[in-house]
């Protein structure tokens, strides 16, 4: 049912206390949509917004949630994952909440979903142009690695004063012959802004470059929205002679479906410390197992 039908239904059922379709009031949705548009117009730039408190904790996905709730409609199908899994506590709670405040279909299938809310992973199956990927972002400011003050980092972005973060990489290489940044690796978006892609593994970064779908990023606690429109140049920052390197899973495969070209979770089997590996993207793994 659409927004109006939803409200009628709530009133007819004489609920003493009911919410607007998708929980947020229309004015909030309007503000968030406007900020999304601004973010899409300036790829990689962090747009401030008046983030509302939600019934889940700050730091638990309120930013991503506000984005999802502002864009979903009755024609959408929703998928929510955390660490690549549909069954994680965080993902389940979010789905539970969303279903309570609007009845849109939920799916585990990446291909079926029109809106995917994710914490820290991009699904293995390629996304298409009718899909939107909403990222939950804990700390939107990539320059916090070198500077804690928002006032200063704001100026740095405005002036494209990024020498600090390049220096950080340089010093790592000189001292350890290896860059220390694991997940959430800084990327240059549209050749202008350096951006935090949220704590996704480096493995997922190449998927962002010229992605066919719209990528939206929401940081609820820090009150920022940013976006990467489809077919945008997104490049991890790297030196000509010290290239960006994704996580190394050579010689390893998923113990369930035998996949070797996916991001794997390391499982400690028992007290002896023996290791096995499983697909982080659980629904993709299931699909493969069913074939």
């Amino acid at each position: 049912m659409n927004g109006k039908e939803w409200l009628m239904d709530q009133q007819n059922n004489k609920k003493p206390f009911f919410y607007n379709f998708a929980y947020l009031d229309e004015n909030t949705k309007k503000e968030i949509r406007r900020k999304i548009l601004k973010a899409v117009a300036i790829p990689g730039y962090q747009v401030p917004f008046a983030s509302r408190e939600m019934p889940i904790g700050r730091g638990w996905g309120t930013g991503g949630l506000q984005l999802t709730l502002s864009i979903i409609g009755c024609a959408d199908t929703l998928k929510v994952i955390d660490q690549g899994s549909d069954d994680s506590v965080n993902a389940i709670n979010i789905k539970k909440f969303i279903q309570k405040v609007c009845d849109i279909p939920i799916t585990n299938d990446t291909k079926e979903a029109t809106v995917i809310q994710t914490r820290h992973r991009i699904p293995e199956e390629r996304l298409e142009k009718n899909q939107i990927l909403v990222f939950q972002v804990p700390i939107p400011e990539i320059l916090k690695i070198i500077e804690p003050s928002d006032q200063v980092t704001k100026r740095m972005h405005a002036e494209a004063d990024y020498s600090g973060i390049w220096l950080y990489l340089y010093e790592d290489i000189i001292h350890f012959n290896e860059i220390s940044i694991g997940a959430g690796y800084p990327v240059m978006v549209n050749h202008r802004y350096i951006m935090d892609p949220s704590p996704i593994p480096r493995f997922d970064i190449p998927k962002m470059n010229h992605n066919r779908s719209l990528l939206l990023f929401g940081a609820g606690r820090e009150k920022r929205i940013y976006a990467i429109p489809p077919f945008t140049d997104v490049e991890p920052i790297e030196f000509e002679d010290f290239k960006f390197r994704t996580e190394d899973f050579s010689g390893k495969k998923c113990s369930k479906c035998n996949a070797t070209d996916v991001y794997l979770d390391e499982i400690i089997d028992d007290e002896s410390g023996a290791r096995s590996y499983q697909c982080s993207d659980t629904s993709y793994c299931e699909k493969r197992c069913q074939l």
Partner: protein
């Protein structure tokens, strides 16, 4: 016959610290013998300064403390916004690596440009050496890292090239190569100054600013630093603006100079001529008391 266009053209540069009032102009300056307006307490940093600087030319600015020479330098380096005035940059040398940027700023009054453009100008085209080396280098990163930072600011992205140039500059400024990865924390004042010099030169600037670079160093060290600067300039032909209260430094390094008092330029011309035959009584006083 074509005339050489000046590298830098400054017109009527004025910087006041304070609100300003109608009396400021008439009640401050060398004839009034004061920098501070008695009516509104606004301080004249420098007033109505105009000059041209040509490629491969070294201009000196001499005066005592409060003369406005440091304010002038800071204004040219965009350390703060000016009260009024214009600054133009032009560089016609063929095959120079900064052609795109220089074309962009041709005929643009740089004082009214965006902070983004100002930063590009500083990063790519200029270098600065401060009196206090701690203003120009970070103690929490290695000496080599400090030098690398300037190159990173000028978009150098090849580690080997960066590292090679750092080593090359270290040797050129007569520093021991084995200390390149140490922090400048424990370096002597003279060595810290050499790190600053290396840093300023690292990205092949066209314009170098020197702010009292030898003040505070031991006399023997001073001589060494001055010789170094002179020989490097002769090798690379960048233009320099040299600030000093010491006529000895001005005589050694510069061909033309301007004398400042209470924020205004009171005399300018060929350095040799001014030293031999100063016209303005204040210049006569300065010259006679020093040499």
């Amino acid at each position: 016959m074509s005339t050489i266009k000046p590298l830098l053209s400054v017109r009527n540069l004025t910087k006041r610290f304070g609100k300003g009032c109608k009396d400021c102009e008439s009640l401050t300056g060398p004839t009034e013998n004061r920098n501070q307006c008695p009516t509104c307490r606004t301080i004249l940093g420098c007033g109505d300064v105009s000059f041209d600087l040509y490629p491969n030319e070294i201009l000196g600015i001499v005066g005592e403390s409060g003369s406005g020479k440091t304010t002038l330098l800071r204004a040219l380096h965009f350390d703060f916004p000016v009260t009024s005035g214009e600054m133009f940059f032009s560089y016609g040398k063929e095959n120079n690596e900064f052609a795109d940027l220089i074309k962009q700023i041709e005929d643009v009054n740089l004082f009214s440009a965006t902070n983004y453009v100002k930063r590009q100008f500083r990063n790519f085209l200029t270098g600065i050496i401060y009196q206090n080396p701690l203003m120009g280098i970070h103690l929490n990163i290695s000496a080599g890292g400090n030098i690398a930072e300037k190159m990173l600011m000028a978009d150098w992205r090849n580690l080997k090239a960066i590292r090679e140039r750092s080593k090359h500059l270290f040797l050129k400024t007569e520093m021991p190569l084995e200390r390149i990865d140490q922090s400048p924390k424990n370096f002597s004042g003279g060595m810290q100054q050499r790190v600053q010099i290396s840093k300023a030169l690292a990205s092949n600037p066209i314009l170098l600013f020197l702010d009292e670079v030898t003040t505070g160093l031991d006399l023997s060290v001073q001589a060494g630093v001055l010789d170094l600067i002179r020989s490097i300039q002769r090798e690379f032909h960048f233009s320099m603006i040299v600030i000093s209260h010491d006529f000895g430094v001005i005589r050694l390094l510069t061909e033309r100079c301007m004398v400042m008092k209470n924020g205004k330029v009171i005399e300018h011309g060929l350095t040799d001529q001014i030293l031999e035959d100063p016209v303005h009584p204040y210049t006569q006083l300065l010259v006679s008391s020093q040499l």
